[in-house]
């Protein structure tokens, strides 16, 4: 074996160092997010209280209470200290429009978002990655051209409009076609019992999930397609064919595994896009998750709630990126492990 391996620390130590390095990076990003959130919601609006109460009827005492509650008149460094202190206790402030703790609001709506995003991502991963690999392998064929054209078109369709169209066609009914799906929300009032409620929820989940899946599928297809295309001319595929492997085996065992890493990096890069898509879809379908909560907060603007949501969403993205980063050495052994 290579002489350079002599003297290198043993495998588990290298892995731990690698994990440590990535964790440190994630923590730095998280701190940056905290500072950014403070800048965005306390510094940028100038006077946050005025920003929130613009054009709203409010009397002097309420205004004063609000100012005291948010600590807006304190010097900035002490505001930042209070902010960090509260965060470490899990206190995300109080929502202006609901008068409830932000953390509670977020906690209540988190499940719905996870259900939507989780289902859509899994479905899109299965369909998108597989069809992407297939399209690239038989590039130029009918399946490829149709599939890629559809994906590129979907990529150019604003997610909210796709949702509106699906809602109009399948929810409200268009012309002679009846609406088969609900026009919003997560449940129909009056349904009870575990089974019926579950089915009802699934029925409500269909359209929003379909919308989100379609957009993510398009992205995954294009990403996987470009990765496999890049591998298609590799010399080691000729070696595999020379060994007598069938075309499908060459694709499955040699081409696709080499496309995992570039695909994974591109997918991880777009995790933020998936989250944005979720926000929009929830707004269109009134799906009671974090996305629609975000929309409600935007309209006021409910700065404490917005801040809490911003922190939650971006932290989630950082954690997902960290997990993706840690998975790279498993996908491609050439990735440098400390």
């Amino acid at each position: 074996m290579r002489g350079s391996d002599r003297g290198r620390p043993v495998w588990p130590v290298r892995r731990l160092r690698h994990i440590g390095a990535k964790l440190a990076g994630a923590v730095t990003s998280q701190v940056a997010v905290l500072v950014a959130a403070f800048l965005l919601f306390r510094v940028l609006p100038g006077d946050p209280v005025r920003a929130m109460t613009r054009g709203r009827p409010i009397n002097a005492t309420q205004l004063a209470n609000l100012r005291a509650e948010l600590g807006v008149d304190d010097p900035l460094p002490s505001q930042f200290a209070t902010y960090v202190g509260l965060l470490l206790h899990g206190d995300l402030g109080t929502s202006f429009q609901y008068r409830l703790p932000v953390a509670d609001l977020i906690g209540a709506r988190l499940g719905a978002t996870v259900a939507l995003v989780g289902t859509a991502t899994v479905l899109a991963a299965v369909t998108g990655l597989w069809s992407g690999a297939w399209s690239a392998w038989y590039a130029g064929g009918v399946v490829d051209r149709v599939g890629t054209a559809a994906a590129v078109t979907l990529w150019s369709v604003p997610t909210f409009w796709l949702g509106l169209v699906l809602l109009a066609v399948f929810g409200g009914g268009l012309g002679p076609l009846p609406g088969l799906f609900p026009t919003g929300g997560i449940e129909t009032p009056g349904v009870s019992g575990f089974g019926p409620v579950a089915l009802d929820r699934l029925w409500h989940l269909t359209l929003p999930c379909l919308t989100l899946t379609a957009v993510i599928h398009a992205q995954y297809l294009l990403v996987m397609r470009s990765s496999v295309l890049a591998v298609r001319d590799s010399a080691f595929l000729t070696t595999a064919r020379a060994k007598g492997l069938s075309d499908a085996a060459v694709r499955r065992r040699h081409a696709v595994p080499n496309a995992y890493l570039p695909s994974a990096t591109l997918i991880a890069l777009n995790l933020g896009g998936v989250v944005s898509g979720a926000v929009v879809v929830e707004t269109v379908f009134s799906w009671p998750g974090l996305g629609s909560l975000f929309y409600e907060a935007l309209t006021v603007p409910d700065l404490p709630l917005l801040q809490g949501l911003f922190l939650t969403i971006t932290s989630a993205v950082i954690v997902m990126n960290l997990l993706a980063d840690l998975s790279y050495p498993l996908l491609d052994p050439r990735v440098e492990v400390a």
Binding site: S234, T239, A240
Partner: protein, 619 residues
Amino acid sequence: MRPGGAAGATGGAVGTPLNLLEVRGLTVTYLTQTAPLPTLDKVDLDVATGECVGLFGESGAGKTTLALALLRLLPRTATVSGSVHLDGVDVTNTTWGRLRALRWKAASIVFQGATQALNPVQRVGGQIEEPILLHERSSGTIARSRAAALLRQVGLPPAAAGAYPHELSGGERQRALIAMALACDPRLVVADEPTTALDTVRQAQILDLITGLVTGHGRAMLLISHDLRLLSSTCDRIAVMHAGRIVEEGTPAEVCAGGRHPQTRALLTAHTRIRALRHRHRPRPPSPAGHVGVPVLAADDLVVIHPARRGRNVRAVDGVRLDLAAGEIVAVVGESGCGKTTLARALVGMHPPTGGEIRVDGVPLRPTGPWLRAHRRRVQLVLQDPGSALDPRHTVYDAVAEGLRIHRLRPPGGEPAAVAAALVRAGLQAPETFFGRYPQELSGGLRQRVVIAGALILQPRVLIADEPVSSLDAAARADVLTLLLDLRDRSGLAALVISHDLELAWSIADRVAVMYLGRIIEVGPAQQVLGSPAHPYTAALLAAMPQPFTPLAATLDGEPPRTSSLPGGCRFHPRCPVLLTGTADAAGIGHACRTVEPEPLPAVGPAVACHYAAAEHRS
């Protein structure tokens, strides 16, 4: 003389089992976006069981296409006509199922470029087991033990099975590729340039291995190479290929003696021209001890350390003293990884030295901006691959004029005149015709001349050439080397040529310095160093050079250690044949070899860094 066909070992008719491989009238044309590209033209070739046939030709002659066609591995854009009979089966017409069964079992290929031919994300053991599992339908355990046995045969440790290709060195990857090719016990092994880019020592090792495992076990081999000396020392028969046709076939003696076909003669002439260069030009008279005047380029105790990512530094250049006098050509030779490229880059000023000093015309080189700029005017560099050394978006004119523009020079007579003059100096007549051309339109040899012209336009005192001809074919090689000699004779241009090719050093160098692991271990006049080498390493390098008709013998075992983990004592001692055979101990200096590192050599020489050689010299 009809090429191919009846010149086969048995002259059997098509389909006779005695001929393992029979190619008849194979014609391959690639369809491209512009015009169809004919690659093979009615090729006939025979290989009998147990025979070793060599396929010789320049790059682009179609050798790899032929190899791929044997197993019907050409892409769909290739139109194939003619027939290929492998072990009695017509490969070009058989069913997909039979073809797959035939692949790797009847014949396997050792591909060119082991790094690209192996799947980077699959373990080496798995890649060797794959064809075994596919063809033999054996269990996993049997396949694993077979793979382990194969790895042992090629000289790799069993741990290599669990490694990924990038964890092995270049030579180890090549061995793994060979092990993989033998996995299903094929009757024919096609080796496509198995030793390109390897230095002579590793080349000999790999060839030794291949011939031992293939012909030594009764298998047939088709050895493809552009190196005729290599083929003549290993093969029973050689087929010469030119522009897609077999133009000549015969025993090595017949082919090397001059060949009957004009193409063969042209190729051979190019090879021998290089040797003859030595005699065409008056070698520079060797100067007496010590150079007259100040050397135009001098390295004094030069140390260059690469900071490695994992904290251990690589001492690429470790205490080098070298002088270059005006009008002198010095060759620095050594295995890949010995530090010669780093030395070249440090001398040009691209890599700041970690220790020691570099002097040009007696003036020390300082790493700051203005000094470096002035230095650039005096010392220029010519790189290995002219294809990538020229920006494909710049015309020849832009490329040559770039130096003038960078330094904002206004030559008397104008820029175009200076560019034309530089091109002429580089051997390109009618320079104006080249002004608007792009590098891609020129051949390798012409491109290298453009690069040289670009360097010459700044009128340097020294030209440093890093493997200037290794990517060129034989004819272009001779031209560029002649150019260097002309420049030396006519304008007193000093040149430092870096190469792993000893023959090149022999043809143009006045003095030769041999480098090993960052140190110069022997230096002196070319005649002396290459004719009667004193250091065991130099002797091994020379002995490993392929000679016509002589079977190759690996002269050194193993790989040189990494410079980050050097052995104590003389750097070469773990591989030194003098020490390993006990001769050094018998002479009483074995202990010194193991513990004391020889002193760095003086700048001029002749000198050798070897305890044994010094002891012999004294006695």
